[in-house]
Symmetry: C2
């Protein structure tokens, strides 16, 4: 594998900083000039990397979710965890981290859906693809739990994965204003420790 | 009761338009100039109405929720509805309306929490007060359902009301990108027709 080119490195830096800026300031609050200045790229060169701001945000969405997908995949490959245990471990880790982050940020997917999910078609498509990819990975953990006999089988794993993801998104919003992990803990205990159980 | 003053009427118009602008363009995407132009108020006069943009958005949050509170209160006062029936009727109406609105907008509370719930303390406080007021009204319907024997009593009405509100917020986000009411229907049927039942 050849080493990344300068352009690839700069592109990665733009997306790294873009994720942070979009998380802290939202889509409309994020200026391209600020992003370019941070990465030290002249304004005219932005279009060598992305078609426009919408395309940049759409790609930042995929860039943002990647570490979450990798971590969840790692738990799915851990032979010590059963299907339900994968999700419990994963969400317990996230709860610790949002507390360390002082309840700030939440989820970039949820934040951007709220702000531009209905006004930017490019962002909507990226958000939809990304959320579906993330949901289907959680579904695979629930399918495994069903096969192991710990997860109920009278509801589809797909429907339960969607409920979990949506419930978590709503709980993250509540966490931000309450400045407390209680909504997240309630969401996980209700679904993973009670409603989903066989 | 005296008729509203010109200042009160203008203030109401500012908040009406503010709710629409914040819903469509988010906090950072909403310019005060645009709001003032629409209501025909010179820029310098804005501060006769609100301290600043944050204060304006914080008041728009309360202005936005008022019709929802009134409608839910109306259902609570309807002698033909039991506690669980109040919530089922209320959410069924909202589902019809989001479909008519072509899945746009979602909930201003959720959108603003995502965008500025962690960066504007003035907005956070207003969002917290408003969400709590709305949640406690839903709690009162669940308390009635518990007294009527249709809602489970092994969980507190408060905890169930919070789950319902948070689950609905997450489902609204998903609705926006899927352009479908399915996530909303799943949220209501899971909680109101199954999990909350006695």
């Amino acid at each position: 594998m050849s080493s990344p080119t300068r352009k690839q490195i700069k592109r990665e830096q733009l997306l790294d900083y873009g994720v942070q800026a979009l998380m802290n300031q939202g889509y409309h609050g994020t200026g391209l000039k600020e992003v370019l200045d941070f990465v030290n790229i002249p304004k005219g060169s932005f279009y060598n990397y992305f078609d426009n701001k919408e395309q940049f945000a759409a790609e930042a969405v995929g860039h943002y979710i990647e570490p979450f997908i990798q971590r969840l995949t790692g738990h799915l490959q851990n032979p010590e965890l059963d299907g339900l245990g994968v999700l419990k471990r994963y969400y317990a880790e996230l709860i610790v981290e949002v507390e360390l982050a002082d309840y700030k940020g939440g989820c970039l997917l949820g934040n951007l859906i709220g702000e531009v999910g209905d006004t930017s078609e490019i962002c909507r498509c990226s958000l939809l693809t990304t959320v579906e990819r993330y949901a289907r990975l959680q579904e695979s953990a629930l399918v495994r739990g069903q096969q192991e006999g710990t997860v109920r089988t009278d509801r589809s794993a797909k429907s339960m994965a969607d409920l979990l993801l949506n419930g978590w998104q709503g709980a993250l919003l509540r966490m931000k204003i309450q400045r407390s992990t209680a909504p997240l803990e309630d969401c996980c205990s209700t679904l993973l420790d009670d409603y989903f159980k066989a």
